[in-house]
Amino acid sequence: MSSKIASQVFYNVGSIDLSVVIDGIDPKRHTELFTFQDYVIVGNPADLLQTNSIILSKGDADRMLTAIGDVIQVTTAQQGNKAQLKVVGYYQSGLADFDNTNSFASINTVQKMMGEPSSYLTDIQVKLYDFNEAPAFASEYRDIFEIEADDIQTVNAQFETGSSIRALISRAVGITLLVVSGFGIYNILNMMIYEKLDTIAILKAIGFNSSDVKRIFITIALSIGLIGGAVGLFMGYLACLGIERMPFETEALPTVKTHPVDFKYYLIGGIFSLVTTYLAGFFPARKASSVDPVDIIRGKRQSNPYWKQKTSISLSTIP
């Protein structure tokens, strides 16, 4: 739990006033709970413990042409109190709009600036071990304390929608690829069975039953899946090693310096490759197991219903 005061102020830059919000925070708690230090790109959150110090957003600092150690003049919006604050650091959160209107100071500094007693607070931020419980907690606190309580999901609804749609697209592409490759394997096995009709017939003649033949072809399909999956994952791993090193610096995600790679997807990929090849192998294997050895050995393939279904060249296709 971390307490906070949001105060509306103006920066006085020469004759211009910039309207911003200064968040009064407890630097130690805020750092512990919300990894504040990751967003402070120059300086240290602990510097806020000195009275009358401020960590400016990078955007504001650039606009006001201030440097570390400079003193800026602010006026509070409600009371009109003036105060002088020393710049001890810059921060960048990744949300440009938020950055342009927010700066951080300690709770004490803000209380003094506003002329409020030390019991004055505007917000209490609560961090849960499992953030999925946030909506339930929010509504519970709303009822118990009769306050306004927002959960993280509601506050970040836009972001959530974006990531779920991205996940949906990448999964749809993945499934499409698997289905296409599954059909490829299906065709290969179908042709293979046509080529191996004699072998299937003789295996059956010397005492292999239908399920043995089916097992042989499913084993072939699964080994294609296993070897293909392993080679594919290895190549993907090599590609990921490269991508992982690729610089990926964006203002939106200040803590991420290279492309993020999540290796748990390798497991999913491996399992899916096996499932796809099993399904692709199952139907050709079933056809193979129904081959009648007598028809093959006597050379009467036409009488086998399996081969009747095969597409043939029709007269209309001959130029």
Binding site: D198, I202, I297, R298
Partner: protein
């Protein structure tokens, strides 16, 4: 082996009865040949006797056991254990070596360990004077060698019945004689029943018994 009143018809494109009330008994250790003009139904009869074709009327007994109406899996097991096949075309598996081709039915049966099977397979190859080819691939052999290998494969599980559909049809005189002598020896010394469908009059002369067929009926046995 006994066949009782076997009828068989093909329905494609029109109903044609190829076997009419075929009945005979073959005793253990007999060397029997089935002869007749082409189209008289002798191959059809062989495939029914081999248990691979189950679509017939009548009753078939092998080793004093009724085979008609048994499940396909049971029949596969029976073929594996008690029947050896030699076809006109050798039907070897070209991916495997000579030795492995012989081993396959034995490994399927699982009566012996792999080492023991390899030893037995080598013994069979020695009968056919092929032991030096054991590690070659099956498709590196000559036609006669392939046919001898196919017979060796039929023998690996010591079947009580060996069936052949024109096993010497593709062979020259020398190889055909060799194959014939092997069959003769198997019947005489190991009391294995041998049933061969053939066109070759020379081959038939040497057998113990001739079943002659004409137009789907047994006319002389």
């Amino acid at each position: 082996m006994e066949a009782k009143n076997i009828d068989k018809s093909f329905y494609n494109p029109i109903e044609t009865q190829v076997l009419k009330q075929v009945s005979f008994t073959i005793n253990r250790g007999e060397f029997v040949s089935v002869v007749g003009r082409s189209g008289c139904g002798k191959s059809t009869l062989l495939y029914i006797l081999s248990t691979m074709d189950t679509d017939y009327k009548g009753e078939l007994l092998i080793d004093e056991e009724v085979i008609t109406g048994k499940s396909l899996n049971y029949l596969s097991k029976l073929r594996n254990e008690k029947i050896g096949f030699v076809f006109q075309f050798h039907y070897l598996l070209k991916e495997f070596s000579v030795l492995e081709n012989i081993l396959i039915p034995g490994l399927k049966l699982g009566r012996f360990s792999r080492e023991e099977l390899e030893y037995r397979a080598m013994e069979k190859l020695k009968i056919f004077d092929m032991q030096e080819h054991a590690l070659k691939k099956a498709n590196q052999l000559s036609g006669g060698q392939k046919q001898r290998l196919a017979i060796a494969r039929a023998l690996i599980n010591d079947p009580i019945l060996i069936m052949g559909d024109e096993p010497t049809g593709n062979l020259d005189k020398k190889n055909a004689d060799f194959v014939f002598n092997i069959f003769k020896e198997l019947a005489a010394e190991f009391h294995q029943t041998i049933l061969i469908v053939t066109h070759d009059p020379e081959f038939t002369e040497g057998t113990d018994r001739i079943i002659e067929m004409e137009d789907g009926k047994v006319i002389r046995q």
